[in-house]
Amino acid sequence: MLEDFFNVVKKRFNDDDDKQTPEKPVFKCPRCQSSVPLEHYEELHRVCPECNYHGRLSARERIAVTVDKESFTEYDADMLSCNPIDYPEYEEKQAELREKTGLSDAIVTGEAKIKGSSVVIGVMDSRYMMASMGSVVGEKIARAFERAAEKNLPVVMFTASGGARMQEGIVSLMQMAKTSGAVKLHSHSGGLYITVLTDPTTGGVTASFASLGDIIIAEPKILVGFAGRRVIEGTIRQRLPDDFQLAEFMQEKGFVDLIAERRKMRSTLSHLLKLHGYTE
């Protein structure tokens, strides 16, 4: 009771606060349309408190909310893509994105601890060319699995991707084979591989390492599929149901093991790692 009272007081106090700074930034949820103080939305790691909408995180943010403080060491931070098919202005576009995002390409990989358990972790970042997979993404993933196999470490991959990096032509397609082969190599060594599907995971990434986890977790309501929704709608000439290709839909079809909310992801991963003997 007393607690309620204090909450009311606190709320009033906050309300007063609001009045003093009416321009306080607000997050407008794209799913339920409610307005939430941006600060609150950020505190929840970009989850809407009204409808549980999971917004996208950058790779750095994802790492920060997933692994133990100060435990992350990055692999291959300086790897940069070349221009294998001489696509016009590919280098310029990348330089611009590097400047804007602070990333070297669409994935960050490295080693870290999750509640004490050491893991090799990879996180894709959709701000970088829709996290499409080209030479750098492919190479970093392959090396991550190879190193994990060498060191007897499990791998946790947070996937998000628009698919193949078109600007690298056939070379990007081959990254699907390269990464899938590396997953197999790690699997043969007895290592655990957990995929965490995040919004959106599509195309060549779905058709390679993202679908090969021993355990496949998804965040709620995220998009996961091979073909784009519009492509399919164009083929069948009718509108698809709203839940088509959402995580829950894919779980019902048998392609997702469990759906975990962001606030429970760290403990879910930790439990699964420990269940496989990966302790401190």
């Binding site: 030479s135 600007q167 397609l173 084979a177 082969g181 993202a210 091979f226 399919i232 088509f244």
Partner: protein
């Protein structure tokens, strides 16, 4: 002999009405072909055929994407666009080949994996991914040949191999040139321009380390002389299959992994 055709001209050529399909080639290259059906899980996909046959008397497993030669055949084979059950049938037959120590020969000829509701529901992405991973460690030789169109992941699902050969006018690409233009320039009509920059011809692919061999076509294209092109494919296989079968399987697997492992261009 040098092929002076542009990528766009080759694209027209492989879409030629009389371009031979795997159904034309099988009786001219192999003997004792028995087609095997179904993935043992869901169904039998007409876009991929597979079975056992003999090549120069040696039992081999054939897995192939099928283009139709008329509207009825195209209905059956879904214009060579496989569903997940096609890829799963391919994997089943590949594992069978592994068990009985038969080499696997894959023929690629597809615009791409089918994009549809049922394909998504049955896990098109998972089916392709599984093939990539499993073919990488399949303990028997795998040789793949692109007959015409090698479209995207739908082609690659039969393309994890010890050696990839291209028919002289065949193309192999991350997406169709039309799709490339549509995605990158929001204008599908710029197909020809896409062909010019995508690097999809047999020569391009050899340069990029994706393909190892080019099989010569008769003057004007494969459709001008079916016997000759079949003879050329057979000659290639008759040489390549025994070569791969003689190798120690662990060495072969290491080389297969390395073949894909080294594709990619980056600096650090």
């Amino acid at each position: 002999m040098e092929n002076n055709k542009t990528a766009f001209e080759r694209l027209q050529l492989i879409r030629h009405k009389y371009r031979p399909t795997i159904r034309d080639y099988i009786p001219l290259i192999f003997t004792d072909f028995y087609e095997m059906h179904g993935d043992r899980l869901c169904g039998d996909d007409g876009a991929i055929i597979g079975g056992i046959a003999r090549l120069d008397g040696r039992p081999v497993t054939i897995i192939a994407e099928v283009k139709g030669r008329d509207i009825n055949e195209n209905k059956k084979c879904n214009f060579a666009m496989p569903h997940p059950e096609g890829y799963r049938k391919a994997l089943r037959l590949a594992r069978q080949a592994e068990k009985f120590h038969r080499p696997v020969i894959c023929f690629i000829d597809t615009p791409g994996a089918f994009c549809g509701v049922a394909a998504e529901e049955r896990g098109q992405g998972e089916a392709i991914a599984r093939n990539l991973a499993e073919f990488m460690t399949l303990r028997t030789p795998v040789v793949s040949i692109v007959l015409g169109e090698g479209g995207s992941g739908g082609a690659l699902a039969l393309g994890v191999c010890d050696e990839l050969a291209m028919l002289e006018n065949a193309v192999y690409s991350v997406i169709s040139p039309r799709g490339f233009a549509s995605i990158l320039w929001k204008d599908a009509s710029r197909e020809q321009e896409a062909c010019d920059i995508m690097k999809i011809t047999a020569e391009d692919l050899v340069k990029l380390g994706v393909a190892e061999a080019i099989i010569e076509e008769p003057l004007g294209g494969a459709h001008n002389d079916l016997d000759k092109i079949s003879e050329n494919i057979k000659e290639y296989l008759s040489h390549k299959i025994p070569e791969k079968c003689q190798k120690d399987i662990d060495v072969l697997l290491k080389e297969r992994y390395t073949k894909f492992r080294k594709i990619g261009q980056f600096s650090e």
